[in-house]
């Protein structure tokens, strides 16, 4: 075991894993985080806490992760390289580990121009692959990026993202391979709607034997309405919501139910794809639907490991 977190244990047990996402509030309310944790903790194995997602300032992922940890939930602390340099990131990781956080997801982060502080200076001191490498070095060699020694162990279960739907498509597998080589233990993908494209990406992943080196959790985002489907199709970079999905949501009499049905169909297919070890459900602002999705997908109860 690298960090011995619940997420690591469930993935290592070979069981189909479920993670979910909880965005911290645009304010100081611990209850918001705790309420999301309460909604999600019984139906998933770990909860991702986003880090200024879409470049909008929120409570830090570190604090959000701690609030979940205090509830007895296993958090995945997300870190984007947009907002902090190598000094700040390494010190946050030491603090997080000291307080019992073991899972970290390494991300580049959306460009600051998308957020509520578009005039901010983007940091990007290191990139997400270099961040993975840095965390692996902290854990395995007990050294900082500078080569200085760290006192004590830094147990970490290191995650990374993959987007099979961004371009160039052929290079996406090479980029995944680089993340694994850098030290990623688990991967959470961008939301899958185009299952055929995802399947062909997974075939390329498996052909290179990468599925045996890393745990891949396929991302899903339940769609609430036709408007949301259109928005994701037209404005969210690297998400491939198809016209068929938009049409289906537009025709639906009860869009929320249709959205759940759609996501369940996708999860059913994802479960059958070799190399997919779980799903990562990002129900942004719709956390209360996750339990129903997990139950209807036949993934309850979550294993006690």
């Amino acid at each position: 075991m690298k960090a011995g977190t619940n997420l690591e244990k469930v993935l290592e047990s070979g069981k189909f894993t479920v993670t979910a996402e909880a965005g911290p509030p645009k304010g100081v309310s611990a209850e918001v985080m705790q309420r999301k944790g309460e909604l999600l903790r019984h139906c998933c194995d770990a909860i991702n806490v986003t880090d200024n997602q879409t470049a909008i300032v929120r409570m830090s992922s570190f604090a959000g992760s701690m609030l979940l940890k205090q509830q007895g939930t296993d958090p995945v602390m997300q870190i984007v390289v947009r907002d902090r340099n190598r000094l700040a990131i390494q010190s946050d990781v030491l603090g997080a580990v000291a307080l019992g956080i073991g899972n970290v997801l390494c991300l580049t982060g959306d460009h600051q121009k998308f957020g509520n502080h578009p005039n901010a200076r983007g940091v990007f001191d290191i990139d997400s692959i270099q961040l993975i490498q840095a965390l692996k070095r902290m854990r395995d060699e007990k050294k900082f990026l500078s080569g200085d020694d760290i006192s004590g162990e830094v147990p970490l279960f290191i995650g990374a993202a993959a987007n099979p739907f961004a371009d160039p498509f052929e290079f996406r597998v090479s980029r995944l391979a680089k993340k694994i080589k850098a030290g990623a233990d688990f991967i959470q993908t961008q939301a899958v709607y185009d299952v055929a494209k995802f399947t062909s990406w997974m075939e390329m992943v498996n052909d290179r034997g990468l599925d045996r080196q890393v745990h891949i959790l396929a991302g899903v985002i339940p769609i609430k309405s036709a408007g949301m489907a259109r928005y994701m199709r037209d404005y969210v970079p690297g998400v491939s919501v198809t016209d068929e999905i938009v049409a289906r949501m537009e025709k639906a009499e009860k869009p929320k139910e249709e959205g759940v049905a759609l996501i369940l169909e996708i999860i059913e297919q994802l479960k059958e794809i070799p190399g997919v070890h779980g799903v990562h459900i990002m129900a942004v602002g719709w956390e209360d639907i996750v339990q129903e999705i997990v139950a209807k997908a036949g993934l309850m109860p979550r294993p006690a490991v």
Partner: protein, 229 residues
């Protein structure tokens, strides 16, 4: 080339408000090529300002002059006499020229007439784009001759990020994804395998992060030691 862009007339009007005699000073090099501050722009700006102050009912005098290069002492010394007739100078040069004027003529009020934008290339007449951020640590031999530090919005050394779609950057459909360009170029060269290697964290100490930079050529080293003493 250093690409600059003239500030909006309104902003320049506010800057000159407190002065009566102003020298608009063009630069014959980069600022001329990018239509920000050559002889022609000096003349156009001078007439625009004359018109503006007339409307405001003020009396101001605008002198016009263009030097070959504002970033070298020998070319700016020629304006010392002209400066005696004015109470401010409005250089239409990049930040280097503006500061050279301020440094050479410390009693002179200096009002920057352009914004210095980037180190770039004239793609075609009237179109300029950034190519270099002067990071002091060139890596383009690894990236097919295309700089991801200057041309990727996130300066990624191991790109592309998940926002690259259809060859475009997530920040704008008008911006090419530098990593798509790099990959296309390396594919054409049959060298895509170069990208399998993980690039280590960059040494930013050679960039502005390391503080203002200076290069002293060997024959100057003695003089430099003298100056510092």
């Amino acid at each position: 080339m250093i690409i600059s862009e003239q500030k909006p007339l309104e902003e320049i009007r506010k800057m000159v408000a407190d002065y009566d005699k102003i020298l608009i000073l063009g630069c014959g090099t980069c600022a001329t090529v990018c239509f920000a501050g050559g002889e022609r722009e000096v003349a156009i700006l001078a007439s625009a300002l004359r018109m503006a102050v007339k409307i405001d009912g003020k009396e101001k005098v605008f002198h016009e002059h263009t030097v070959k290069r504002q970033c070298e002492w020998e070319f700016i010394d020629e304006i010392s006499e002209k400066l005696k007739e004015v109470d401010a100078v409005l250089p239409l040069s990049c930040g280097i020229g503006v500061q050279a004027i301020a440094e050479r003529f410390p009693n002179c009020r200096v009002l920057p007439g352009v914004n210095t934008c980037f180190l770039g290339l004239t793609e075609e007449a009237g179109i300029w784009s950034e190519r270099c951020v002067a990071c002091g640590n060139c890596l383009v031999h690894e990236t097919g001759g295309i700089c991801p530090i200057a041309r990727c919005a996130k300066s990624l050394s191991n790109g592309p990020c998940g926002g690259s779609v259809g060859g475009k950057c997530e920040i704008s459909p008008d911006v090419s994804c530098a990593w798509q360009l790099i990959i296309d170029h390396l594919v054409a060269l049959g060298q895509l395998d170069r990208l399998e290697e993980i690039q280590p964290p960059r040494d930013w100490s050679s960039s502005h992060s390391g503080g203002p930079r200076k290069i002293v050529y060997p024959f100057q080293e003695g003089n430099q030691a003298e100056v510092e003493r």
